[in-house]
Symmetry: C2
Subunit: 154 residues, 2 copies
C-alpha cells in the first residue's frame, strides 16, 4: 500500500477541528490539550502534529498562558500537498528518484533510472487540486460525540 504517515492523517483531523472551532487568522486560539480532547488523539501526539504544522507555516502558535494555535489561512486555501510535504516529505515514489547519482549500485545497467518521474508528476498533478477543505467539509455534518470515548476520559 502506498502509505503516508499516520501523522498526516492526524494533521487533517486537527486542522479540521481548528477550523470548526473558529481558530482562524485573527480569531481565538485553541490549545493542544483542548484539541486532544476534541479529537480523541493522545495529547503528546497532537502536540507533535501541531509542532510540525507550525514549522510548515500551516498553523500559528501563540506562546504563553492563554496561548494556543490557530490556522494561518482558511482550509480552502491550504493545499493537501503542503500537509503531505510537511509530514512525508516530497511526493516521490521511489528512492531511485530522489537519490543522488551514483548511489544506486545497479545504476550503470538500470534501464529505469529516473523513469519514475512521469509517475510522480502524474500523482502531483492529481493531488494539486485538492485542499484540506475537500477532506473536511463533507463530514462536518457528523454529529459531535464529545465524551463518549474512553481514551479522552481523564
Amino acid at each position: 500500500m502506498l502509505r503516508l504517515s499516520k501523522l498526516t492523517d492526524y494533521a487533517v483531523v486537527v486542522l479540521t477541528r481548528l477550523a470548526q472551532d473558529g481558530a482562524m487568522p485573527g480569531g481565538r486560539v485553541q490549545t493542544a490539550p483542548g484539541l486532544a480532547l476534541a479529537t480523541g488523539i493522545a495529547e503528546p501526539t497532537v502536540a507533535k502534529v501541531l509542532k510540525i504544522l507550525g514549522q510548515a507555516g500551516l498553523v500559528e502558535g501563540v506562546r504563553g498562558a492563554r496561548g494556543g494555535y490557530r490556522l494561518t489561512r482558511p482550509l480552502t486555501a491550504m493545499p493537501l500537498s503542503e500537509v503531505i510535504l510537511a509530514f512525508d516529505g516530497p511526493i516521490a515514489l521511489t528512492a531511485c528518484v530522489d537519490g543522488i547519482a551514483g548511489m544506486c549500485e545497479a545504476e550503470q545497467v538500470c534501464p529505469v533510472r529516473g523513469r519514475w518521474d512521469p509517475v510522480n508528476e502524474a500523482i502531483r498533478n492529481a493531488i494539486s487540486g485538492i485542499t484540506v477543505a475537500d477532506l473536511a467539509t463533507p463530514l462536518q455534518t457528523c454529529v459531535p460525540v464529545p465524551a463518549l470515548n474512553p481514551i479522552v476520559a481523564e
Copy 2:
C-alpha cells in the same frame, strides 16, 4: 516521502529486461540467474521479484530444466498499477481507509474517516493510464554495460 516498495522498482527493471530479451508470450524464456546477471540485482532478490510477478500473472514461469520466465503480455498492455498492486497492495493512502470499521480508536470523533477516498481515486486515475512500457521505452537506447559492475562479477 510517498514510498513504494523497492521491489516494485526492481520489478520494472526485470520486466523491461525480459522484454529486451524477447521473453514474450510464445517466445523463449529467461532464467532468474540470467536476469540477475543482466540487471545487476542479486539473484535471490530477482527470484523473489519473479515469484511475485508470477503470482500476479504478469510473468509466466516454466519449470524444470531449460525453464525460466517470460512475459504474459507485451509491456504496453501491462498497467503499472498491476505491478504496484502486486508489491505494495491496493493503492490507498492511509490505514484509515482500508481499515475495518471499529479498528480506529478515534472513529467516533474522527471527522476525516473515509475522506481520503477522493484522494485515492485521484491518484488511481493519474496512474491508470501509465503502462510499464512507459517507464521502460525512453531509456532502451541506454548503452548496455555487460560486465563493468563489480557485483555482477563472479
